[in-house]
């Protein structure tokens, strides 16, 4: 089927040329004295020969009209359409020892992560315990001056002004980075 489409493509290209050149090339190509038709179907025979080209511009215009106008994104869409539906690559397959190495690495990674998480948990509970003990001590403290027991604790527990837009300064929202800034620390900061 592909070959026949290529033939039609050829013919459409040929029709652009003038009638004389067409017959000339046909003569050279096929070496038979009379131009032979490629297709002998009845429909082709019944088809009338195109009217003689009057300047050659009229058939060109007709052909342009037949094609749909290309959108400005035509090439981009074509690229996407060609590549978007590429089949997914096959799953990884590993030989036995290779898989065993992969398993080892995987187990070690799981272990490593777990130890990290446990260390973080421990750190947090340690810090919380420190705060808890300090607060407990503060709760049993009398003073300052003539204040009663637990006064400082109650003040410390107050949340007025702790949250909200003013709660955390914006300078504190600095991420940790892989490399320091050009001037790593601003020592000359003045109020």
């Amino acid at each position: 089927m592909a070959s026949s489409t290529s033939i039609t493509g050829l013919f459409s290209r040929l029709s652009l040329l003038s009638r004389n050149t067409t017959t000339a090339t046909m003569k050279t190509a096929t070496t038979t004295p009379t131009p032979r038709l490629f297709s002998t179907t009845s429909s082709f025979l019944a088809r009338k020969a195109p009217p003689p080209a009057s300047g050659g511009s009229a058939p060109k215009a007709a052909r342009r009209n037949r094609q749909a106008p290309k959108s400005e994104n035509f090439f981009r869409i074509r690229t996407l359409r060609r590549n978007m539906f590429s089949p997914a690559p096959p799953p990884l397959r590993m030989a036995r020892l290779r898989y065993l190495r992969h398993w080892t690495i995987h187990r070690a990674w799981q272990l490593f992560r777990r130890k990290q998480h446990e260390a973080i948990d421990k750190e947090r509970s340690r810090m919380h315990a420190g705060m808890y003990n300090a607060c407990e001590e503060l709760r049993k403290t009398v003073g300052p001056g003539s204040r009663g027991e637990g006064y400082l604790y109650r003040v410390a527990m107050e949340k007025k002004g702790v949250y909200g837009l003013e709660g955390v300064p914006i300078e504190y929202a600095r991420f940790q980075t892989d490399s320091p800034a050009k001037e790593a620390w601003n020592h000359e900061w003045k109020r």
């Binding site: 690229t79 996407l80 590429s86 997914a88 690559p89 799953p91 990884l92 290779r98 190495r101 070690a108 990674w109 490593f112 260390a119 750190e123 810090m127 315990a129 420190g130 705060m131 300090a134 607060c135 001590e137 503060l138 709760r139 049993k140 403290t141 009398v142 003073g143 300052p144 003539s146 204040r147 009663g148 027991e149 637990g150 006064y151 400082l152 109650r154 003040v155 410390a156 527990m157 107050e158 955390v168 300064p169 300078e171 504190y172 600095r174 940790q176 980075t177 892989d178 490399s179 320091p180 800034a181 050009k182 790593a184 620390w185 601003n186 020592h187 000359e188 900061w189 003045k190 109020r191």
Partner: protein, 332 residues
């Protein structure tokens, strides 16, 4: 007033009048009930102090400040992490769909020329830091890095990214000669000048770790602290900081809750009178974001200051003092 707190007031009256019951237990017990009422009432109206009227409280209450500088840098990765990430990246290279250059680059543009030049130099590998490796070729199975190969280190990743970032094709699509290529500026070193000189006063040292401000007072190294003068803990801490280390620091007190405490017991005589007052020091946590401490003219007699990490603090501070504050220190 809620019924429960009314009841507690009544019972507290009975307790304070009867001498058989320890006042400390009583107040400890009733605190939770009283707190609900007290938070609603103004904090300035003080509850009648039951204990202080009888004997003076044998402790000085001090408010201190642990001023910390948070880590500026991410932590250094464990060698296993480097190796693992590299391993996973190569596996990903085997599993992903191919990179379609024409989707991302218009044909015959400078960007496309630049890209193709760089990919060609990498031996056709799309990824920048994976070395020459093709996840789809017949040699794709050979994806494991050998021991001792520096390709997986953070340093080589940085180098490859820097190399890739340098422009190789000018804006008018002409290939720049290798000697004319302007390399991208390297980011600063993780190890600073202060680290090399071990300058413990500077704040740009040990940038992966938390630093703590300690000052040298009459009784050795410690965190700045002072006796409260009819003020609250966080106000006291703020005052201590301003007086001791100057105002030229951009700081933030993280909450009003103490994070650590150090207690020094009072010395009592034989018949119970106080010979030497004890000390209760409560520490508020602060963060510094810019500036530097300045001890000039401080009223506490501090002569020196240092910014130290947790391990260095352990050597510097007295053991019982360190035991009191170590719980608030993060691992890094």
């Amino acid at each position: 007033m809620a019924a429960s707190s009314r009841g507690s007031r009544a019972v507290r009256g009975i307790f304070s009048s009867s001498p058989t019951i320890c006042s400390r237990c009583a107040t400890t017990r009733f605190y939770s009930a009283a707190a609900a009422t007290e938070t609603k009432a103004s904090v300035t109206d003080a509850a009648p102090p039951p204990a202080s009227t009888k004997t003076p409280y044998p402790y000085d209450i001090r408010s201190g400040l642990v001023l910390t500088r948070p880590p500026l840098l991410t932590r250094t990765l464990h060698p296993f992490e480097n190796a693992y990430y590299f391993y996973q990246k190569r596996l990903e290279e085997r599993l992903n769909t191919p990179f379609i250059t024409s989707i991302y680059f218009k044909p015959d543009t400078a960007a496309q020329l630049d890209w193709s030049l760089k990919v060609q130099e990498r031996g056709g590998t799309v990824a920048k830091e994976l070395g020459t490796y093709h996840g789809k070729s017949s040699k794709a199975w050979d994806d494991e890095l050998k021991v001792g190969d520096q390709l997986s280190s953070q340093e080589s990743v940085l180098n490859s990214l820097l190399k890739d970032a340098a422009a190789r094709v000018s804006d008018d699509a002409e290939v720049i000669a290798p000697e004319d290529v302007v390399p991208v500026e390297r980011p600063a070193e993780r190890l600073s000048e202060a680290d090399k000189k071990n300058d413990v006063r500077r704040l740009d040292r040990q940038m992966e770790r938390t630093l703590y401000l300690v000052v040298k007072g009459p009784d050795g190294w410690g965190f700045p602290a002072d006796v409260l003068k009819d003020e609250n803990l966080h106000e006291g801490a703020k005052r201590v900081m301003d007086q001791a280390a100057g105002v030229n620091m951009n700081t933030w007190l993280v909450g009003r809750v103490p994070v650590a405490h150090v207690v020094q017991e009072p010395v009592l005589g034989k018949d119970g009178e106080v010979q030497k007052m004890g000390q209760k020091t409560f520490f508020i946590k602060g963060r510094i974001m810019a500036g530097q401490a300045d001890l000039k003219g401080n009223p506490f007699g501090y002569t020196d200051f240092k910014w130290l990490t947790r391990e260095e603090l352990e050597k510097e501070l007295a053991p019982e003092y360190f035991r009191g504050v170590r719980n608030m220190m993060a691992d890094r």
